[in-house]
Amino acid sequence: MSSRTFALGGYGPRRRSAWDRLTARDSIVWRMDWVILLSGVALAVIGSLLVYSATRNRTELNQGDPQYFLVRHVISLGIGFALMIGTVWLGHRRLRSAVPVLYGITVLLAVCVLTPLGATINGSRAWLNLGAGFTVQPAEFIKITVILGMAMLLAAKVDAGDREHPDHRTVLHALGLAALPIAIILLMPDLGSVMVLVIIVLAVLLASGASNRWVIGLCLAGAGGAVLVWTLGLLDEYQINRFAAFANPALDPAGVGYNTNQARIAIGSGGLTGKGLFDGTQTTGQFVPEQQTDFVFTVAGEELGFVGGGLILVLLGILIWRACRIARESTELYSTIVAAGVIAWFAFQAFENIGMTLGIMPVAGLPLPFVSYGGTSMFAVWIAVGLLQSIRTQRPIAA
């Protein structure tokens, strides 16, 4: 089993041409989950069109070049794709040993965001300025390193066959590992990412087989934390307003409720088949802010209608369904936990993102996986797909 896997790295005993190796019945290409890949690609293609539609008129953003965002989006997509291939090539197991280093780097990057190196966009200091107009959002990478780090800790003894379930000490360590970056991100504050991370932690604990007490305790802690944040007034006014607008959709449609109201109008007016790509009045009129990133789903809703919006949901559903299969069929707890973390991440982030455009979730600054404009998010998502593929390809074939 391992010799085959390592063949990709060139350590195999038999020398075959690269093409032969890729096309062989037992090659990685054959064993890869093509459904996940194609669903992701389909979402990315749709996303590119939506991003283009949302930005070609925004002269104040695109610097007069209608393709400005599209080009950058496609470049990011290419990089993301490369990162996915790289991840598959390295394999999640080999990454396992690099996790402490990766974790350290991402946490360090997150800390840097809080320093003057960070850039504030939309009230959140969540971006790191790399110069030359490039920014990176460390929170996106932290989602990966928290998943990998916790999986590493929680699965170590179980995969070694020492225990059936992680012991309390291990769980405590794992939670500590997650708590540090969550705290940093909370300071930014990037509530959306915090929410996703909390859900990831929850899913990781569930998948690790940790005692129910931990799961329930974490839920209670999360709820308590939310109450604490609210009562202590740690939230900025805009964040409170988002909740207020969510609680009362009719609230101040020109002010606080503007975003959600316009988003709902955009989606609702799409009807069954939409107004046609590039023909959405809400979109061309730029009534929905942040439409290429957090509110990209409104473009789909308006221009492609229920058919287009539904297609995105179906593609996401297929992707997550396949990811669940990978998690269930994985033989190692480490792989299972990683897959479960990715599933929770994709699912919750998609639900929160689309949910807020539909008015069933409060607004939080989160991109829609695979679809939204945003380099870091794209990289992280495709790395995660790489992880899933790696788990899939490196599991033993039925004997």
Binding site: N57, A155, V158, D159, G161, E164, H165, A203, L206, A207, S208, G209, Q262, R264, I265, I267, G268, S269, G270, G271, L272, T281, Q282, T284, G285, Q286, F287, G301, E302, G305, F306, G309, G310, L313, L316, G317, I320, W321, C324, A327, R328, E329, T331, E332, L333, T336, A340, I343, A344, A347, A350, F351, I354, G355, L358, G359, I360, P396, A398, A399
Partner: protein, 773 residues
């Protein structure tokens, strides 16, 4: 899965993984459901909102079309004025609800702050005029009469006047050419209300919040033609209101102009003469009531016989239609709708109801002929006529011996018609009516169009009533409870009113002999409008066609390309043979030459040989009030019907005025000579005024040079005691000549008292006892 080595995987993990999978997919299902709800369930609503979002409408109001007289002289048009308006929405945004701004505005405009405040408050159940009745989102006009420097002040200090605008706007104007204000026939405009906007939303002519709507008269009945349609340019805008493109635009289509059959000059004369006649009547003493005639209201209609077109329609008391322009003030509104002013908004020509008196006799004559009584038969015109114990007298108990029906019309002999009506009443079964009673006198009235609207093209026409059996029955059913209660409550010796109540309670549904007899001479419960009588007399002249009276003659589109003529339409034919019509016509000529109206026409220098005049006088009684004066006349081309409420006799009160209108129309001088140059309208205006290529309508030049000036509004009716219109009477009329006219009239009044078919002495209500023969 069973063949996968189970390393490090507990069942707990598997179960939890399945749970995660279910949870995740249910989240996605939730999203799908919500998506369906927004896009499919509520898609239409959001589509509407999206449209409202990105489409901005810029409205160019359409200019309202003019209303012109038959010669093209505007009687309602527009002028540019500086309008200062306040936006309520803007004012309400201010801390003090705009109080300070309005105060400053009042100072600049030289108005009292209270007036300004009243103008911008909204009308509701507790707020009466003055208040704003239009849409609260529409700018409310404070004044349409701002001076340029006032407007300039407001504009330059716009920071002091948030929500206040000063813009030139086209404002309705009623120029009253020749002094003809034509108020009631024209009607008036007022701002459209929110309900109306909502109601007309999906029709062909939706309203804009800034629209004014015709509320009465021609302004209302031709509103959709006159209003045109506002131009709307819909711009697609982005979130900052920047225009991205023009979505669609409808060009403003100016309103069509309405050419009416009104001749402003004749209208001016008619208004003036009506007013003058009423003033004269107020100087006369009424023997029956022991005080001067009140002459509280009056109307005159001049109609073309062969088309039913209305040349002139005046109603008194009058008002200035310009009072409505730019929002009416509280004081003016109270004046226009108050009892004290006797409701000048009413158009008495179509809304005024009165018993017709003897001008009804043309109907009774027709009824008699159709019932089989020959026109030239001999009928006893005895001084009085008895039914049972009750005596019905002729006017001043005068007898004329045995006469034919024509003569009965000439001298307005009541007893002839009493007898015929009584005979017919008995034939129909008397108090025990037969099945299929002929009811000739009632049937004929219906055939003449009474009890029904004439269909004139202005609103609020009333139908009047023919007090036939059906009406009696309905009326009794509606009132019997009250009558019977009143009769039952009577204690001891019943009073007069209680006896009447008892009578009505028991047999109020029955057509009594007295009712029928009274009815035959146009008294009692019959109610007619001047326009109905004009239609009838015009029909007598034109061979029997009852035309729907019209004021509108043609609708000319704003560009002048489409001219839609309004063709005369008829709503019936008089039930009269040619021979009878001729006989009747001759008899009515007799009225003018040697009958009850002779002292106004034949004996007063009317050139009967050149212009054949027919007339019928009437003096109708109204319970508890003074008599109504009626005069119905016609020549070959025109019919004039005048009535004055509480004005006295037909020829006495209305005679001189009607004569003066004819004089002006035909150019008849004091001596009876006809000066064609002075004639305003000797023949009906057959042609429409010239419409030039750009759509403007050119007013016909007045051939009588120099006459127009003298007919200007400044010549008030009271300036001349004879009330002759300046355009009608020769400028050289001397005080002596006027004095003569006065003398003639006084003499005539006495004669007329004997001649006119007034049944002054007769009680209005006849009591029981004598009722049952």
């Amino acid at each position: 899965m069973t063949n996968i080595p189970e390393t490090g995987r507990s069942s707990r993990v598997t179960i939890r993984l399945v749970a995660i999978q279910i949870l995740v997919l249910s989240l996605l299902l939730t999203l799908g459901g919500r998506l369906w709800y927004l896009q499919i369930r509520n898609g239409d609503e959001y589509q509407k909102q999206a449209k409202g979002n990105h489409v901005q409408q810029v409205v160019q109001p359409a200019t309202r079309g003019s209303i012109l007289d038959a010669r093209g002289v505007p009687i309602a048009d527009n002028e540019a004025r500086l309008v200062v308006s306040a936006s309520r929405t803007e004012l309400m945004k201010q801390d003090d609800d705009g109080k300070a701004v309005l105060e400053r505005l009042a100072k600049v405009l030289g108005m009292s702050p209270k007036t300004v405040r009243e103008k911008v408050r909204l009308c509701d159940a507790d707020t009466s005029q003055p208040c704003w009745n239009g849409s609260p989102y529409q700018p409310i006009p404070i004044t349409d009469d701002a001076k340029p420097q006032q407007a300039l002040q407001i504009r330059e200090r716009s920071e002091d006047f948030p929500g206040i605008t000063a813009e030139p706007e086209a404002v309705r104007r009623y120029p009253a050419p020749y002094g003809a204000n034509t108020a009631q026939a024209l009607g008036y405009l007022s701002p459209v209300t929110d309900e109306e906007i909502e109601k007309a939303k999906d029709t062909d002519s939706p309203f804009l919040p800034s629209d004014e709507v015709g509320r009465n008269g021609l302004e209302r009945s031709y509103d959709s033609e006159l209003r045109g349609s506002s131009g709307v340019t819909r711009y697609e805008v982005d979130n900052l209101g920047r225009v991205m493109g023009e979505a669609e635009s409808d060009k403003a289509r100016p309103g069509s102009s309405l050419i009416t059959s009104i001749d402003a000059r004749v209208q001016a004369v008619a208004e003036k003469q009506l007013d003058q006649a009423m003033k004269e009547a107020r100087k006369k003493f009424d023997k029956n009531t022991g005080r001067n005639y009140k002459a509280d209201a009056g109307a005159v209609v001049v109609m073309e016989n062969k088309t039913g077109r209305v040349v002139s329609m005046a109603s008194n008391p009058e008002y200035d239609p310009n009072a409505w322009v730019g929002g009416i003030s509280g004081k003016e509104y109270a004046k226009l709708t108050g009892k004290k002013s006797n409701y000048p908004l009413l158009n008495r020509a179509v809304q005024g109801l009165a018993a017709p008196g003897s001008i009804f006799k043309v109907i009774s004559t027709t009824a008699a002929v159709n019932a089989g009584y020959p026109f030239n038969g001999r009928y006893d015109c005895s001084p009085s006529f008895k039914i049972g114990g009750q005596v019905f007298k002729n006017f001043e108990s005068e007898g004329h011996g045995s006469i034919n029906l024509g003569r009965a019309l000439e001298v307005s002999c009541d007893t002839v018609f009493y007898r015929l009506a009584y005979k017919e009443w008995k034939k129909d079964g008397g108090n025990l009516p037969k099945k299929g009673a002929k009811d000739w006198f009632y049937k004929t009235a219906h055939q003449f169009g009474l009890g029904e609207k004439t269909g004139i093209d202005i609103p609020n026409e009333v139908e009047g009533r023919v007090p036939d059996r059906k009406w009696k029955k309905n009326y009794w059913e509606a009132n019997k409870d009250a009558w019977c209660k009143q009769a039952d409550n009577a204690k001891g010796r019943p009073s007069y009113a209680e006896r009447i109540a008892k009578e009505n309670c028991v047999s109020g549904m029955k057509m009594r002999a007295g009712d029928s007899v009274n009815y035959s001479i146009g008294q009692g419960d019959t109610l007619v409008t001047p326009i109905q009588m004009a239609t009838i007399y015009a029909a007598l002249s034109n061979g029997g066609t009852l035309y729907d009276p019209t004021l509108g003659k043609a609708v000319v589109s704003g560009d002048g390309k489409s001219v839609k003529e309004i063709k005369p339409q008829s709503h019936g034919k008089l039930p009269l043979g040619k021979k009878t019509l001729k006989q009747m016509d001759k008899a009515l000529q007799g009225v003018a030459t040697h009958g009850t109206a002779a002292w106004r026409f034949g004996e007063a220098g009317w050139p009967q040989d050149k212009i054949k005049m027919r007339a019928k006088t009437g003096t109708a009684e109204v319970a508890g009030k003074q008599t109504t004066s009626w005069l119905a006349t016609y020549t070959d081309d025109f019919t004039i019907v005048m009535t004055i409420s509480q004005g006295g006799t037909g020829s006495g009160a209305s005679g001189p005025a009607v004569r003066k209108i004819y004089d002006a129309m035909y150019g008849v001088g004091e001596d009876g000579g006809i000066d064609k140059k002075k004639a305003l309208l000797p023949k009906p205006e057959a042609k429409l005024p010239k419409i030039s290529k750009d759509g403007t309508i050119v007013a016909k030049r007045d051939k009588r040079r120099g006459r127009d000036a003298s007919a200007s509004p400044s010549a008030s009716p009271s300036a001349s005691p004879t009330g002759s219109s300046p355009s009608a009477s020769p400028p050289g009329e001397t005080p002596r000549a006027r004095g003569e006219a006065e003398a003639v009239r006084n003499e005539g009044e006495r004669q007329q008292r004997r001649r006119d078919g007034a049944q002054q002495a007769r009680a209005t209500r006849v009591l029981a006892g004598g009722q049952r023969p």
